[in-house]
Amino acid sequence: MIEQRFKCPNCEQIASFYGNPGEHLVVTCSACHLKGRLTIPHAEQNNGHAIEVSHLKKIYGDLIAVNDISFSVKNGEVFAFLGPNGAGKTTTVEMIESIRQPTAGSIQLLGKDIKTHFNDVKEKIGILPQEFHSFERLTVRETLVYFSNLFKKKADVDQIIQSLDLTSHKNMLYRNLSGGLKQRVGVAISLVNDPEIIFLDEPTTGLDPKARREVWGVIAGLRKKGKTVFLTTHYMEEAEFLADHIAVIFKGKIIAEGTLEDLIRNYGKSSVMHIKKCVNAPEVIEMLKQEGYDEVSSEGNGDIAIKIDYKERVLDILSHLKHDCIEYESLDIRRSNLEEVFLRLTGSKLTEDAA
């Protein structure tokens, strides 16, 4: 029996389930009672880790593209490898996929060293390379059948088409698809052998927000199915939305790693409560300061910002506002995000310009 962590797509509650490798379970979320299917992945003596990277290094002449990085990815989790363009994301993932030769270090996939066993592992991984474009003059279905026939283990192509909402496009030529649909087909290709690990290298780069959301939906669906997903991205909201575990890479080194909550707790600022258009804002600020809230500030137009160190303080402030009958238009609490984490860690923003 092995443990499989599961994040409810409805309420994001994380729970653990136990089963035998390959076993399909019907599970129910303890928080919102949503029912879903879960497949326990084949662990294959990998100590619960689908990917284990140790002291990986890649040097091109004088350039150290990847500098002695180590990390591991648990079975069934979505692991986001986050960093700006040129940070070493693709070099790393392509070394794990055996497309590039590492200068040093070791890589294990499903408990097997890829130096010696990559041919065995090929049947169990699915890959969407960066900026992938498939054969232009094959239809969506033909494309999937082509790649499916390369593997011994085959998933049901029509089921993949259905699950990725490609049914109405299955007879369209690949070249006639929109960018979002092409990426969806790319993800579909990576599933034709029913893989245990799926590598998606920048699957939403260049897509418009709608198409990006579509691809996110597909990746979220893979997580529901219990697949291990290794996702490289330079979009922090993508990592925030999808990832169970995030590693931040910058200039070839992993500078932070953990869950989103870990990263924000360790490297981000505290949350801030914003009170909008408060009547008598100066008096309210004074009152809050007297109550012991040191970091209260005016943001003009009657807006007030209050630093929240711990969640109980939210209730205290609300009770003060209610007790003193203070009128305001709206109130929100903003959590620190990965952008702030990245800014604090590197001194630069995690945007496409950061490259």
Partner: protein
């Protein structure tokens, strides 16, 4: 080796090619258009006769015999110019390109030659230097007729030069020369550009990286693509040959040896394409590089015109070009039925194919640096 994978890739390649208008045009329509066009220009479809003006100032049996021989070649539309007309003035006035004058005393001088070895009469051939092809054809025909007449009149031994001219002008047309060249050229274009597409476009699109992470081996993939190249080569060869037979009434010999040459040609130029794709990695640049190599080769290797018509140094260059040996091997086997010559050139093609294809396979890699 998984034959099912090779067959599947081959079938899907045909599907993709069939759906590509550009692919269909360059593989099938383009060679057909070229062969019809060049065939029509050079091989006597429509008005093919050369116009020749003849002024017979001698008006004797011998001069009439010369006229009749000229007519008998069926190469000329002969216009008679009256004997009392001034030839130079007539040419200027009528803008005449070619005129032959049989001088007064033509027959008499020939008769004198039996007793006087130094007796000699010259025909006057007026020509326009800018009309090189017409001039050359007329000059060679007149020369052969005169040699034949000299030989008959003087009972001299057979002159070899007459026989040579007879062979070239009577037995084979331009289309006979052109058709095998067109086959070699079409296979070369398809193989080089097909190979470049696989090695640059597929690399850029991530398809090679994707394939690297699937169980298909490089050998299986290359064999599948070679199978497709040979399919295209067979199709274009068949099409061009059928047009040669049906439209131009050619007699074409297709043998096992011709098929071997065609297969070797596919391997040769696929290997060349792989090498170009290996060293010039960007698709557009690789296309330009392919054009820079294949286009001059097309002209220099005797595809459209016989090597003998080229300057000496270009003939030397042709002998290091693989397409030259392909053309010669196909031509000698399919048209001239000179199998020894074909064998010699075909062996050179096979050696070139081995060197280029093996180098291409060894130097091409799917893995990134």
């Amino acid at each position: 080796m998984n034959l099912k994978i090779i067959w599947m890739d081959f079938v899907y390649s045909i599907k993709g090619w069939y759906r590509s208008k550009g692919g269909m045009f360059w593989s099938l329509a383009f060679p057909v258009i070229l062969i019809l066009l060049f065939g029509a220009i050079f091989s006597g479809i429509g008005s093919s006769k050369y116009t020749l003006y003849v002024q017979d100032k001698d008006q004797t049996e011998m001069s009439r015999m010369f006229n009749a021989t000229l007519n008998g070649t069926k190469l000329f539309t002969i216009n008679v110019v009256k004997a009392d007309v001034n030839a130079s003035a007539f040419i200027k006035e009528k803008n005449i390109k070619s005129l032959i004058v049989i001088p007064d005393g033509f027959e008499q001088t020939i008769q004198e030659s039996f007793t006087n070895p130094s007796a000699r009469v010259d025909l006057q051939f007026y020509f326009d230097p800018s009309e090189q092809t017409t001039t050359q054809v007329i000059r060679s025909v007149i020369s052969s007729i005169l040699q034949e007449m000299n030989k008959n009149l003087s009972h001299a031994k057979t002159i070899i030069g007459v026989q040579e001219i007879s062979t070239i002008t009577e037995n084979f047309n331009f289309i006979d020369f052109f058709l095998p060249g067109m086959i070699g050229f079409t296979i070369m274009q398809g193989a080089i550009y097909g190979s470049i597409e696989r090695n640059t476009k597929y690399r850029k699109d991530g398809i090679l990286r994707k394939l690297l992470t699937t169980p298909i081996t490089r050998t299986e993939w290359i064999l599948a693509k070679m199978l497709f190249m040979m399919f295209l080569a067979a199709l274009t060869t068949a099409l061009i040959t059928i047009i040669g037979i049906l439209v131009f009434g050619m007699t074409v010999n297709i043998s096992a040896w011709v098929i071997i040459i065609i297969i070797a040609t596919s391997f040769l130029f696929s290997g060349m394409g792989m090498l170009i794709g290996r060293f010039v990695k960007e698709e557009e640049t690789a296309d330009t590089a392919a054009g820079a190599i294949s286009f001059p080769m097309m002209f220099l290797a005797g595809t459209f015109f016989p090597l003998e018509q080229m300057p000496g140094f270009l003939q030397t260059i042709a002998h290091v070009l693989p397409l030259y040996y392909v053309n010669e091997a196909l031509r000698n086997s399919m048209i001239y039925l000179n199998q020894n010559e074909s064998l010699l050139n075909g062996v050179v093609v096979i050696i070139f194919a081995g060197v280029f294809f093996i180098s291409g396979v060894l130097l091409t890699k799917w893995k990134e640096d």
